[in-house]
Amino acid sequence: MTNVVPPMLIPGRCWAKATRVMTDAHIPSAAPATGGTRPLSFQSMILRLHQYWSERGCLILQPYDMEMGAGTFHPATTLRALGPEPWNAAFVQPCRRPTDGRYGENPNRLQHYYQYQVILKPSPPDLQELYLGSLLAIGVDVTTHDIRFVEDDWESPTLGAWGLGWEVWCDGMEVTQFTYFQQMGGFDCKPVAGELTYGLERLAMYIQDVDNVYDLAFNDAGVSYGEVFLENERQMSTWNFEVADTAALFDAFRKHVTECENSLEAKLPIAAYEQAIKASHVFNLLQARGVISVAERQAYMGRVRDLAKGACAAQIEKMTPQWQSRFPEWSL
């Protein structure tokens, strides 16, 4: 067993607290990550985060099999933020943001990238310390770097959700969004969930000290991120910006809206929510194609928000008997 408190840290509240909640008091191979030997590869970093959060009682889920703009859209975040049941989960979610595509030519921007998402409900009192512990676990040395919690109130107009929190800066780079959800789908979160969203590529670039995302070591056997994704970025940027059939997309948007409404009528909120996610992604594609004006944008986002809110409302309605049987005091 290695010591969980790395030697360069003054033993104190943060880390002491972080250790207190550890079930296993063990961070595997903490030394290599922080001791100056080879930094973690992209995939090792993910494994390390999985291990860290698994040891802290999180379910380790897999990515949702749909295109979405952020890990927050994953039903394990959105729908699970509703209701009284405790919920602790961590997962990687691929994110698609068509407008961020740069044809593989920009060292920092991708139209497809990964977020690491942790959701803890209710938010634990030492969430900041737990988070800092996870940075430590993947090799961030807090004595030579500048970690800051900078105000960033999160709002997702398309999810009808908001929360207060920060973007966490590491030497001026935003590496994580840290949010206490206050509302989801227009409903008060009771209790509040804490959400951590790590930008995995950014963190990896930082840990591996590379300037170009495509130069990241994906594994420890010489495969780079570029070898895995560069061609994908080129092709998908071209498709997103130049090729995607806008008439078909407008049509798809309408159909997802209709299907969402059908599903709501059939009292199937999860199915409805999936259609809302799809509509949201189609909207993002239309944005990338530059065929939605500023004025229309509001209307489209309003549409998606109504769908997402409708799904959340339906989910609450459907689940309330089950929730109340376990948490009799709970009500909307």
Partner: protein, 798 residues
């Protein structure tokens, strides 16, 4: 006397809220003390990202004892009254005192321990704390009634002297323990008292005094710049923000790749400031240097090398993105970008941005061609006052107004017409390009750079500098205090853009209501007024609105036909060609249309479409009065600061027909000085008396004609005098108004004051002789009418 220390330790408080929080903490605390009859000699507050603290100096150990006397019933009152009083006071009969036959209950309120007062005050303050945004958290948040704080609250230090004031708020017990810097000293610290609070924290790498942190940042950042041979670009906003983001601020200077300096300085500065909260520096020549200063929150063990390197990378990535946008944008002519506006909807009812740009371009051209903008500079001799200037011919005999408009002494006059045509071309060109940067990558990324980037691209692509300037500045003024455009091309585009926005949204009845102004029409109207007034631009608003109302109607009709068969599109051009040529389409008896100009008959199907098009085109029009009222309201708001009375603006607007804001304001100013004089005040009184009589008698404005008929009787002396005064004053006032000499118009009215007073003193209006009565009412109506040549005095307050 003892000091009190309160520290509320939480997760990171947003920098922008810290000053307000300190002020609120001091206010709430002082109020709680005051309720208990206590006051501190001094209240000091501190804020860091992780704590909000207060020190109250020299509090007494206890409040003073108070004796309170309550009056009860008379001793003669029935026993029930006495019983009631005893119940109310909780006293027994023996404890009451009697005086003058009345019972009194005297309760002695002993002094309370200040610690007890504090123990009640702290939870009250925390629960009532007005954060701009607050949140719930943790297990307690299962209820929406749980404590709200800006971020999760973790600790309360409450020390009165050296004693803990015991309180429990939302499960947090107060104590003497706090924590130092998150990384330098994460362990617990025990505070002894208010006296050692700041020092103990300093030893644990926390500078609790925000002003001290700000000073450290300011000084150190300037020193770092100086050491590098540069000059810091001062930015107090950034100083305060960085002080609010750090407990132990360590400014560090880094360099970025000088190749990025090709990107406009504003872009670099904006990126550095907004996204990264970095300071920037200038070199000796005053140009932006390839350096940034970030403020870390840690004394790094490597002296900050890794932090600087990390920040450099982040900035480089941001600047690379900016340069990518800039280079990509530069490759596409703005004219090409402008074509993409056809795909962007301005508003669902108002067509695309391209439609808007087309309307704006035409209006901008019209403003120049009509001589409204740039007129005085290019059309010598046609300005106001020139009619009087023709007389003497000798140098110096010209009126002051004419002086700046003099013709050159010799040589032909400048090609005024050509200049005007050129200026109109420039204005139209600028307007056609002014929104093109909205589709550029840079503005997509930094919307706040709209206009500015268009200006850069236009200049780089070889547009006339006046066009580039107009594109850059046409959004101005953005708010009160912003620069107001004065260059003619810019003024034309700026006015045209804002007037079009106002006309468009009023045409579809999207007017601001209450606090709702989603399309920022109020700001647009303020911008128009400020530009007109600053540049002395004589814009007849009603004509401009008529112009734009028609243009908007055309757009609206075009929106309507979008749902019609495509076939109409090809006829639309002909429709307008024919209409503009004065030979519009003709509607036959069978309902079909024909164009004599093109010698075409349209089929019945298309005719139905044309019918609908014409119906929208000729449908309800822009409500000019509503727009003018809207401008009047905005003008009142805008002029309030300049001390212009709103009722006087109303008084002038109420006359109707005054739609030139510059002239209106001149009139209002003259009126304001006039009503401030004795003559003015008395004339106003006389006017009001006349107006009241007329109102009572139901004489409306048409009654004025009566006075013009010859009298059937010999008028009394003061009646004749008033008629004579009116005979003189009316034409004088009218002339002065026409010449826009409003002081003279007021002076003409002032001559009526004495005759009106005398008339009311000696002449009976309500004469038994019906003819006399009618004539005298007519005379009063004439008084009212002549006063109204200047302003509607009934709107003047007081």
């Amino acid at each position: 006397m003892t000091d009190f220390l309160l520290e509320l330790r939480s997760e990171e408080i947003p920098a922008r809220m810290q000053d307000g929080a300190r002020a609120n903490l001091a206010k709430l605390f002082a109020a709680e003390l005051a309720r208990a009859g206590l006051a501190a000699a001094e209240i000091v507050t501190y804020a860091t990202p992780r704590r909000l603290a207060l020190i109250a100096r020299d509090l007494p150990m206890a409040t003073e004892a108070v004796s309170e006397e309550v009056k009860g019933p008379k001793t003669s009152a029935p026993p029930q009254a006495l019983d009631g009083f005893l119940r109310k006071t909780g006293l027994t009969r023996e404890r009451l005192t009697e005086r003058n036959g009345v019972f009194f209950a005297v309760t002695e309120k002993p002094g309370r321990a200040t610690a007890d007062v504090l123990a009640e005050a702290i939870p009250a303050i925390i629960r009532a704390f007005p954060w701009p945004k607050s949140m719930r958290w943790g297990n307690a948040s299962a209820s929406t009634e749980s404590l709200r704080w800006v971020r999760p609250l973790h600790g309360i230090v409450a020390l009165f002297g050296e004693e803990v004031v015991p309180v429990t708020v939302a499960g947090i017990d107060s104590g003497a323990v706090t924590y130092g810097h998150r990384f330098h000293h994460p362990g617990a610290i025990t505070i002894g008292s208010a006296a050692d609070y700041a020092d103990k924290l300093r030893m644990c790498h926390v500078i609790v005094d925000q002003d001290e942190r700000a000073a450290a940042i300011r000084t150190r950042a300037a020193a770092l710049a100086a050491e590098a041979g540069l000059e810091l670009v001062p930015d107090e906003g950034l100083v305060a923000e960085n002080a609010g983001l750090t407990e132990w601020p360590v400014p560090l200077l880094g360099r970025f790749d000088p190749a990025f300096l090709d990107v406009p300085a504003e872009v670099i500065q904006l990126t550095a400031r907004v996204n990264q909260k970095y300071f920037v520096c200038r070199d000796g020549a005053g140009k932006l240097a390839d350096a940034f200063i970030c403020t870390a929150n840690i004394e790094a063990t490597d002296g900050g090398a890794k932090i600087v390197e990390g920040n450099r990378k982040v900035l480089a990535a941001r600047l690379a993105d900016a340069r990518f946008f800039y280079d990509t944008d530069l490759k596409v002519p703005l004219e090409e970008q402008a074509k993409k506006l056809q795909k962007i909807v301005f508003h669902e009812k108002l067509g695309t941005l391209a439609d808007k740009v087309d309307r704006v371009a035409k209006l901008a051209r019209w403003l120049v061609e009509e001589g409204i903008v740039g007129g005085e500079n290019i059309l010598p001799g046609t300005g106001r006052g020139t009619s009087e200037a023709g007389g003497g011919g000798a140098p110096g005999s010209a009126t002051p107004e004419a002086a700046p408009l003099h013709r050159p002494a010799d040589g032909p006059p400048p090609h005024a017409g050509e200049d005007k045509a050129h200026l109109a071309d420039l204005a139209e060109r600028a307007a056609r390009l002014c929104k093109a940067d909205l589709v550029t990558g840079m503005v997509g990324e930094f919307p706040e750079l709209q206009g500015l980037m268009g200006g850069y691209y236009a200049a780089a692509q070889g547009e006339d500098p006046r066009v580039a300037e107009a594109i850059r500045d046409h959004y101005k003024p953005v708010g009160q205090g912003d620069d107001v455009p004065t260059a003619p091309v810019t003024v034309a585009v700026s006015l045209a853009d804002k007037l079009d926005t106002i006309a468009s949204f009023f045409a579809i009845n999207e007017k601001p209501t209450g606090s709702k102004d989603p399309f920022a029409l109020r700001r647009a109207a303020l911008g128009v007024s400020a530009t007109l007034i600053a540049g002395d631009v004589r814009l007849p608003l009603a004509r401009a609105l008529a112009q734009q109302g028609a243009a908007v109607a055309r757009t609206l009709a075009g929106q309507g036909i979008a749902k019609f068969p495509d076939a109409f599109r090809q006829w639309e051009a002909r429709f307008w060609e024919a209409r503009d040529a004065g030979t519009p389409f003709v509607r036959n008896a069978d309902g079909s249309y024909a164009s004599p100009m093109h010698d075409v008959q349209f089929s019945g199907g298309i005719s139905a479409v044309i019918d609908e098009y014409v119906a929208i085109l000729d449908g309800p029009r822009l409500d000019h009065a509503a727009v003018l009222d809207f401008f009047a309201d905005r003008l009142k708001v805008q002029q309030r600061e300049a001390g212009v009375r709103h009722d006087l603006i109303d008084a002038v607007f109420a006359l109707g027909g005054e739609d030139d804001l510059v002239r209106l304001l001149a009139r209002v100013r003259a009126l304001q000085s006039f009503v401030g004089t004795d003559d003015g005040a008395n004339l106003l009184a006389g006017y009001k008396r006349a107006a009241n009589i007329l109102k009572k008698e139901g004489v409306d404005a048409s009654g004025a004609t009566v006075a013009n008929e010859s009298l059937s009787y010999t008028p009394e002396k003061d009646e004749a005098a008033l008629i004579a005064a009116l005979d003189a004053a009316e034409p004088a006032a009218a002339r002065a108004v026409a010449a826009e000499d409003f002081e003279a118009a007021m002076a003409a009215l002032a001559t009526l004051r004495a005759p009106i007073d005398a008339f009311f003193d000696t002449v009976t209006v309500n004469d038994p002789d019906a003819a006399k009565r009618a004539a005298r009412l007519g005379l009063l109506a004439r008084v009212r009418a002549s006063v109204h040549t200047v302003a509607d005095f009934s709107r003047i307050e007081g």
